[in-house]
Symmetry: C2
Subunit: 200 residues, 2 copies
């Protein structure tokens, strides 16, 4: 039976956001499930020495233009949030807490977080925003806020950050299928081919 | 009349090499010409603070694996040269000297340089290698060696390095069509769409 496709992303990564709109269909077309794995890109940047894109001369300007272009290309709501980038620690903890009980619900929460941040410019570092995102999904907002402060879920989210580094996740998004890594939203088409044809 | 597609690359860039095998067909399918523009990635790295891929933890291992995978995927000869990366200054000067007289011949020289380096592992920093690449193309090898040492062509190649930075070329390969920039071998399919459909 073909294995799950891992989708590693940072909520603060625009390319991760764009990928979040495409990965489920690509996996479904190949009869695969997707495991969503939020992590902090900062833990990878600590290894690679990379900096947030907008801080990098030339690349910053390129990316701003590119994100607008991708939004138009894929017909996905897009605007650069006022607060960008952010450290989405609380969202990651909330995600893994929800996922422990209901993986599908956690995915919908993640999609809603992305939409709130890049569609509506709402700051995911504010826990009350996370609670507001959770409510319409019938997630207990008080329990969610408690989980965010719970050392157990802090630890769990940190473990995923370490796991990302350990697995060679070099950026966001990053996909792993059958042990094969694909880095970047730009590699979704190649991932799709890999899933269809198998290894080459 | 539709404009030329600029193909910016560093001879020492594997992704530039892979793109060199695809760009002509993509442009031709859209009725476009390609202007090949070698430059030194080092001049861009001075702005962006980037380092050669293999020096970067995590990314180095990813890229080594990815280059092998791309070689198999596109059926393009590929091996990592013993001497890698290199500063391909002499090849750039030779290219622009040839291009001043015959743009098509310069393109064939560039293709042969890529092939000699990534196919056969020959070090393009050695001017005698460049002379050997030139000879079967009926390029005067002695005149080429003289051009490489000529301040005029040193200056010309440097101007292209500055031009790359000035134009926002953030890496190799980088494509510019109708003023629109596309960064990376991974963006060739999007470039192809842009050329076919026009701006979106």
């Amino acid at each position: 039976m073909p294995g799950t496709v891992e989708f590693w992303f940072d909520f603060s990564s625009p390319y991760g956001y764009f990928a979040s709109h495409r990965i489920e269909q690509i996996a479904a077309d190949a009869g695969r499930e997707v495991a969503w794995k939020p992590f902090l890109l900062a833990s990878v940047f600590k290894e690679t020495g990379a900096r947030p894109m907008l801080d990098v001369p030339l690349k910053g300007a390129y990316c701003l233009h590119d994100w607008d272009r991708l939004g138009r290309h894929y017909g996905v709501p897009w605007s650069l949030p006022e607060r960008f980038p952010i450290a989405a620690k609380a969202a990651n903890r909330a995600y893994y807490w929800i996922a422990a009980g209901n993986a599908e619900l956690a995915k919908r929460f993640a999609q809603a977080c992305f939409g709130a941040y890049y569609g509506d410019g709402r700051n995911l570092m504010r826990t009350e925003v996370l609670a507001q995102i959770a409510e319409p999904l019938d997630i207990d907002a008080q329990a969610l806020l408690a989980a965010i402060e719970d050392p157990k879920w802090k630890e769990r989210a940190k473990e995923e950050d370490s796991e990302a580094v350990h697995r060679g996740v070099v950026g966001s998004p990053f996909f792993i299928a059958d042990g094969e890594g694909f880095w970047g939203h730009d590699r979704l088409d190649m991932l799709a081919q890999w899933l269809r044809r198998g290894a080459w």
